[in-house]
């Protein structure tokens, strides 16, 4: 297990390098620069700015400088938010995105697995069709429609919940964005759970358990659920990536101070270092998370051994 983990980590290094290089050069060849503003800068000032951010160096040298900074955990200064470094911005934005995304995945798992299991137990009945249809709204209505609808209903009309902002992560601020972010994942997870649960329920050991007269509850919770969750576990990696992408929309609509919003603003402002920082940071995160999921999977599934 340890050897496997180490080799996976080592294998991640080229992946990361490719990721960094791709993002770095893509941003640099993009038209428009961080110092383009409607009031054109005097050339001297622009030259000074370029020098201050080392944009006057050859590209490969800038790349080396950037990699060197990364090794020291330094993402560089933000071009746009001049009072902060990118490391600081990620440091304040990530905990917010993590809470938001983490809660959304947990919620999606909870609802998705429940709905999927119910549907599987009542396969091809009206209950099955109904719960699956409802859970599928998340992938039928774009979240940029769902989110304002939720705000309109619960914040503006009913006045139960705040319409936006983060409030330091208070539950009432989190509720709506978490739901909006979780909905599409509910659809995928419930579909996966339903499929694998149907399969598991037909397997011999479940039949045996039933034949022994164990109560249905026990059969499902004790015997069927764990193997049925395996495909759901392997979906967690992609789900994380999806939630991260989704947060770009959700954070913007709810005014949540997370990384997704930085990314879009950064790309629009040509804040090279901030965009790079977010991409690299999330790249590392996805790689690590996939590893954790695989290890967890091995723990769940006795057939897999590393």
């Amino acid at each position: 297990m340890l050897r496997y983990t180490l080799s996976r980590l080592l294998g991640a290094i080229p992946t990361l390098l490719i990721l960094i290089a791709l993002a770095f050069f893509m941003i640099r060849v993009a038209p428009g620069g961080p110092f383009d503003t409607e009031r054109a800068l005097p050339p001297e000032i622009e030259a000074n700015l370029r020098a201050a951010y080392h944009l006057d160096e050859p590209l490969y040298q800038q790349f080396a400088r950037y990699l060197g900074g990364l090794l020291r955990g330094d993402f560089g200064p933000s071009f746009q938010y001049k009072d902060f470094t990118v490391t600081e911005l990620i440091g304040t934005g990530f905990p917010v995105s993590l809470r938001l995304g983490g809660s959304a995945i947990l919620l999606a798992l909870l609802i998705g697995v429940t709905v999927g299991t119910i549907a599987a137990l009542r396969q091809n009945t009206r209950t099955d069709y109904t719960v699956m249809a409802v859970s599928m709204t998340g992938i039928s209505i774009p979240n940029f429609v769902m989110a304002p609808l939720l705000i309109l209903l619960f914040a503006v009309t009913l006045g139960w919940l705040p319409a936006g902002g983060w409030g330091g992560g208070a539950w009432n601020h989190m509720l709506l964005p978490v739901i909006a972010l979780a909905l599409p994942q509910v659809a995928y997870i419930s579909r996966l759970t339903r499929g694998s649960m149907i399969e598991v329920l037909r397997s011999n050991f479940v039949r045996t358990a039933r034949a022994q007269g164990l109560p249905e509850r026990t059969v499902i919770l004790r015997y069927a659920l764990k193997p049925a969750l395996l495909p759901v576990m392997s979906y967690l990696g992609p789900a994380t990536a999806a939630v991260i992408t989704g947060s770009v929309v959700i954070e913007q609509i709810f005014g949540v101070p997370g990384l997704g919003r930085y990314f879009v603003q950064g790309a629009l402002n040509r804040d090279y270092t901030l965009v790079m920082g977010v991409v690299v940071f999330y790249g590392v995160l996805i790689i690590l998370f996939n590893l954790v999921v695989d290890l967890f999977y091995a723990w769940l599934d006795p057939k897999v051994k590393y």
Binding site: D36, R39, Q265, L268
Partner: protein
């Protein structure tokens, strides 16, 4: 303030343009939830908690007044800092840190007398030396200021910015702790207005020198305005507290001001409606109709110092040496229809280029007095003269930067050009930075969307744009008589004569038509009925120190 991308002044709202719909004094709050009448029985009782929550567009780039350029950061900086002068409710210059000043006969030497009770938020006195340091810092190339150029009227400013002279050569001298002398290169009638701009705000030298690039943060930032920085959570909020050392602190009623960065205007409106904001930064123009119907007493629309126009690239075909075609396009736009049916915020149809600035008579071509039908007939004739017809229509590209409002206007205008002249247009939207680059290179553009917001309340702020050497002249228009008139205006001391030169220049511009004015901007926002002291301002300078919260 320039029309920065993050700052895109939205357009929109209905007729009755200039009429200001004052927000105060209406009976109950949104949804009728307020239990007591606003302002108590007398209508002027103050609320116990004097806290104002303002929506503020994008996240500010910096709270260092010399390193930022957008509207959101300026709003904050006007609360945090105070320059030598300040802008009054009607856009007039009022004393700031300087309580009085004299101007020499030739209009070149300004002597400012500073208040003896002006203090920094840490209690230090604000001195003439602070301003000497700050103005030098603002133009010093090492500061990397992108707006120091606005101080160019000061003697040697341009040379200092270009790195040809040391900052010490700037024409600013502290004669004694309370007297500052500023020498200009040319007499500049609008100079006192420039001093109210954030690029001319003072910074606290000891703080800047202690913390270097990272001084503008909570716990470090020392400011001299009505408020001081208490907290800053990026992308979430900035909290300001009353500055007890401010010279006029007794008249500042707000204890706290919270600024919320919310780029998405729909989100901002929702939060306002949920009572999380007391005033918004802007409004989503698509919801103006709803706001008019449902929040009529809270909607505030007022004139704004800006013009929305379509630039024509005159360095390329089809516009090169073809004023007839340019005029045809100008005439084929139905501005009344556009501002009443499409943008609808009460924008003023613009037949001329310079908005209603101080001491200036707005210019319009004779066509402005015609009916639209006459204009369209003339347009068809000019179009035919330029050699186009239904069989051989003109094909045009309209470039605009990605934004709801610009998209809508481009679609409407292309539809008008098509209906009146049969022009085939193709719409091209580019994201802000790409668009700026495309526009500036003049290689591919034909018609491009543009807007300009005056940095100061003077026609020159608009006129200078179209000077042949201006870096912002993206039409590529070069017209010697125009440059000549601008040069004369710059050297002229008599305000009336100077205005005459500038007006003559605009007449040249409108005859040659390297750009097509479309409408003049308005400021639009909703303000809660319990916000007292709100007065619209032509440059939208809403100082929090003038505001207060009524009992509600």
């Amino acid at each position: 303030m320039i029309a920065h991308s993050r700052v895109l002044r939205s357009l929109a709202v209905v007729a009755l343009s200039t009429a200001l719909v004052a927000a105060c004094g209406s009976g109950d709050g949104p949804g009728g939830r307020a239990a007591v009448p606003i302002g108590g029985e007398s209508g002027s009782e103050l609320a116990e908690r004097q806290v104002l929550r303002r929506g503020n567009g994008a996240e500010p780039q910096s709270l260092d007044p010399h390193k930022s350029e957008g509207v959101p950061e300026s709003n904050l900086q006007r609360d945090l800092y105070e320059g030598l002068t300040s802008s009054g409710a009607d856009g007039e210059i009022v004393p700031g840190v300087a309580e009085s000043w004299e101007v020499s006969e030739d209009g070149l030497v300004y002597t400012f007398h500073l208040r003896d009770n002006a203090r920094w938020s840490n209690g230090d006195p604000v001195t003439a030396a602070d301003f000497e340091y700050s103005l030098r810092r603002s133009v010093d190339p090492a500061t990397l200021s992108n707006y120091g150029i606005i101080l160019h009227p000061i003697e040697n400013a341009a040379a200092v910015i270009a790195g040809e002279r040391p900052p010490e050569d700037l024409g600013v001298r502290a004669l004694d702790p309370r007297t500052l002398e500023i020498t200009l290169g040319d007499p500049t009638p609008y100079f006192l207005g420039v001093l109210a701009h954030s690029a001319a705000f003072p910074v606290h030298r000891a703080t800047v020198e202690t913390y270097g690039d990272r001084w503008a943060r909570p716990g470090r930032l020392v400011s001299n305005g009505a408020f001081q920085l208490a907290d800053w959570v990026v992308q979430s909020h900035i909290q300001l507290l009353r500055n007890p050392h401010y010279w006029d602190a007794d008249n500042v009623r707000l204890e706290e001001v919270w600024y919320y960065p919310i780029e998405n205007q729909s989100t901002e409106l929702q939060r306002y409606r949920a009572n999380e904001l007391d005033m918004t930064y802007d409004l989503p123009f698509r919801q103006l109709r709803w706001i008019r119907d449902n929040l009529p007493d809270e909607l505030v629309i007022s004139d704004y110092l800006g013009v929305y126009y379509y630039g024509l690239n005159v360095t390329r075909q089809p516009f090169l040496d073809n004023p007839a075609l340019r005029q045809a396009l100008y005439l084929a736009i139905n501005r009344e229809r556009l501002t009443s049916q499409i943008t609808g915020a009460g924008e003023i149809p613009a037949y001329g280029y310079v908005p209603a600035v101080q001491g200036y008579v707005q210019q319009t071509p004779e066509w402005a007095t015609w009916t639209q039908a006459e204009r369209e007939a003339e347009a068809r004739q000019l179009y035919a003269e330029a050699g186009y017809s239904t069989e051989e229509p003109l094909r045009l590209q309209i470039l605009y930067n990605t934004h709801e409002n610009h998209r809508t206007i481009a679609v409407a205008i292309s539809s008008m050009w098509n209906e009146v002249l049969g022009i085939q247009t193709e719409l091209v939207n580019e994201e802000w930075k790409v668009y700026l680059e495309t526009r500036r290179s003049k290689q591919t553009t034909q018609v491009f969307r543009a807007g300009w917001i005056g940095d100061y309340n003077d026609a020159f702020s608009f006129a200078e744009l179209m000077h042949s050497t201006s870096a912002m002249n993206d039409s590529g228009w070069e017209h010697a008589p125009y440059d000549e008139l601008l040069a004369r205006a710059a050297a002229e001391r008599d305000p009336a004569q100077r205005a005459e030169y500038l007006q003559a220049a605009e007449r040249e511009l409108l005859r040659e038509m390297p750009l097509i004015p479309i409408y003049f901007y308005v400021t639009k926002r909703v303000v809660k009925p319990w916000v007292g002291g709100y007065r619209p301002h032509i440059q939208d300078y809403i100082y929090s120190r003038d505001l207060y919260i009524l009992k509600h």
